[in-house]
């Protein structure tokens, strides 16, 4: 589903080039559950942003679902984000003036869905996430765990193929954090590809496939796991050893 080849992303701090991503090759199959770990500045957030089409590489290719994304217009990239990718952020990024219900509805609104079909979709998600009683509350009236659940609801309302979670439990206590991870894993079992960036070893260890990043390179990769039952079988891509130059 995801195929990165020789992907580079370089930032400039003054006249010094910082290689946030340095010739990354990575293949992720449909339905995989990956954790990405690494110290600050190792490039994991940059990787997430590029996978989420929020940022583009300086060189290399990125194919998402068979589509080469690096040559797409901003408009089409926005379309892909809308249809295929769900984001979950550490700081939730809920819009303060909208209720929980409206925050979940927002992607449908942006996509121009008619109100009638929106209502049933949002209601189904709200129910599933156990937020029915809190649906009309504003974000500041919710606990951290509830806020993150709203954010997850918003991420999955468009039925994306891929969820990118950036430190989803970073602002949560361990109980709510555990609940949020459980929810994400439940979604993964239903077939959504899940990629979690985290500092937390315990959470990182839960993933079937674990990437460790260092200095813009994939330092260690536990390798693709067996496809999960129920998920689409991944396209047959040549198995490759991940470049693990020191």
């Amino acid at each position: 589903m995801i195929q990165l080849q020789q992907l580079c992303r370089t930032f400039f701090a003054g006249d010094q080039a910082v290689h946030a991503l340095d010739h990354i090759d990575l293949v992720i199959a449909r339905g995989e559950y990956l954790s990405v770990m690494g110290p600050s500045g190792s490039g994991k957030s940059t990787l997430l942003n590029i996978l989420g089409l929020l940022d583009g590489p300086n060189s290399g290719t990125y194919r998402l679902g068979g589509v080469e994304t690096t040559t797409l217009s901003e408009e089409s990239r926005a379309g892909l984000r809308r249809q295929q990718i769900g984001f979950v952020f550490q700081s939730y990024h809920l819009i303060a003036r909208l209720s929980a219900w409206e925050n979940i509805e927002l992607p449908l609104v942006l996509a121009g869905e008619p109100p009638s079909s929106r209502r049933s979709k949002v209601n189904a998600i709200v129910q599933r996430l156990g937020l029915s009683e809190r649906a009309t509350h504003a974000p500041h009236q919710l606990s951290g765990g509830q806020r993150q659940r709203v954010a997850i609801g918003r991420a999955i309302i468009m039925k994306p193929q891929l969820i990118l979670a950036d430190e989803p439990t970073g602002n949560l206590d361990s109980v709510s954090g555990g609940e949020v991870i459980a929810l994400l894993e439940e979604l993964n079992r239903e077939g959504i590809t899940l990629l979690v960036v985290t500092h937390d070893d315990a959470i990182g260890a839960r993933a079937q496939r674990r990437l460790k990043m260092l200095d813009g390179r994939v330092h260690a990769d536990s390798g693709p796991a067996q496809p999960l039952p129920g998920a689409d079988s991944p396209t047959h891509l040549p198995e490759r050893e991940v470049d693990a130059r020191p």
């Binding site: 700081s91 939730y92 809920l94 303060a96 504003a138 974000p139 500041h140 806020r147």
Partner: protein, 404 residues
């Protein structure tokens, strides 16, 4: 807090939000520019118009036939009365001791032609004194000769435009032109002068008054200009002139006597009111700028709630907090106003360069006034938000966290 510290403290704040500060500056500057520019235009216009009326010496009175009892308004312009102002009246006026000279005037339009060129021109019948009283200058040739008032002579002086239209580039002096059914020899050409109000002296033909009486077949004078020896006892002089004419007109006061000053002050009054009205309309924009200052200060206060809490926790009294926000608004307004003053003066300078005839300058009261108005507006509108900031409870302010 010391003034300099306050200044530096606020400078940091202003500097941190360059876009917003710049726009605020622009808003205030527009108000100041509008007021100054419009007052400047008004003043320039006023001086120009008054200058147009200033073609007569200060000691010249104008006598027109006809009188209405409604006084205070503009003098009557039409000159038909049962009894004309005559050349004899003019001669009698000249004999008065305080009168130094008298210029009678008959004006009309006549068909003026030379060979094939032909046009209708204002034709003025008058005497030699008129040239001095009206401050007309001869470019070439000479002015009307000194003649007895009732003696006609077939000579004329042409305005430069009329001369060009009749003669083109050919010499005009000594040539003959035809006006109506008479012929006049050109003896002088006037210097070009700015377009006046009403009479354009560039297009005029000047002939002796007695010749004009014959040309127009009319005895009555249109105006008499009376030059006084001195301006002392103006009221007394006026009374004597009026008395003389009343006696000569069978005891009836049927003339209107105006001084240039009365004419000018009537106009100046109207123009001042107009300038004020225009500046007042411009000042509305200052009100809008004031509302913007209030809005921005309110936003600043809410953005800096934590900072206010901190200041208070550090022991800043309410008055200091209020001062900080008032000073910020005041600083912005002063900068904007000075900026606006500079721009408006540059624009007026450009206007003066392009139209040197008109003295576009903003009077000092408008410059200082607009500056003070900007400052006052800023302080007034910032007072409410500053008050709000000053009254914040320190603990709540410190704990203020914006909802995510």
């Amino acid at each position: 807090m010391r003034a300099l510290d306050l200044f530096n403290f606020n400078l940091q704040v202003i500097y941190r939000q360059p876009m917003r500060s710049a726009m605020l500056l622009v808003a205030i500057a527009i108000g100041v520019i509008a007021i100054n520019l419009l007052t400047g235009l008004g003043e320039g216009g006023k001086r120009y118009v008054l200058g147009e009326f200033d073609f007569l010496g200060k000691n010249v009175l104008i006598i027109l036939p006809g009188k209405k009892e409604t006084t205070g308004g503009m003098p009557p312009v039409t000159g038909e009365t049962p009894r004309d102002l005559t050349l004899q009246d003019a001669a009698a006026l000249k004999r008065l001791p305080m009168v130094s000279d008298v210029a009678p005037l008959i004006a009309g339009k006549a068909q003026v032609s030379r060979d094939a060129s032909n046009r209708e021109a204002f034709t003025v019948g008058t005497n030699r004194a008129f040239f001095r009283v009206r401050q007309l200058h001869i470019a070439s040739g000479k002015a009307l000769p000194s003649l007895p008032l009732d003696q006609a002579e077939a000579v004329c002086i042409l305005g430069p435009t009329l001369r060009r239209e009749l003669f083109g580039t050919q010499p005009a002096l000594g040539e003959w032109v035809r006006a109506g059914d008479r012929r006049f020899r050109v003896i002088g050409i006037l210097q070009p002068e700015g377009q006046g109000l009403g009479f354009d002296m560039n297009e005029v033909m000047i002939i002796p008054v007695a010749s004009a009486q014959a040309l127009f077949n009319q005895q009555g004078l249109f105006r008499i200009f009376v030059e006084l020896r001195s301006l002392d006892n103006l009221a007394g002089s006026r009374a004597m002139l009026t008395n003389l004419l009343r006696e000569r007109h069978g005891g009836e006061e049927d003339v209107t006597l105006i001084t240039q000053d009365s004419l000018i002050s009537a106009f100046a009054g109207i123009l001042d009111v107009m300038t004020l009205a225009v500046a007042g309309i411009a000042a509305i924009s200052m009100l809008v700028a004031g509302i913007l200052i209030m809005n921005v200060t309110l936003i600043t206060v809410s953005q800096r709630t934590e900072e206010i809490g901190l200041l208070k926790a550090l022991g800043a009294p309410e008055s200091t907090v209020r001062l900080i926000f008032l000073a910020e608004a005041g600083m912005m307004a002063s900068c904007g106003a000075v900026f606006g003053l500079v721009i408006s003066n540059i624009l007026l300078f450009v206007a003066r360069t392009v139209y040197p005839a008109i003295a576009f300058t903003t009077p000092a009261w408008a410059q200082i006034g607009s500056l003070l108005l900007a400052l006052l507006t800023a302080l007034l509108f910032a007072l409410l938000p500053a008050q709000k900031a000053a009254r914040l409870a320190p603990l709540e302010a410190l704990q203020n966290k914006r909802a995510a």
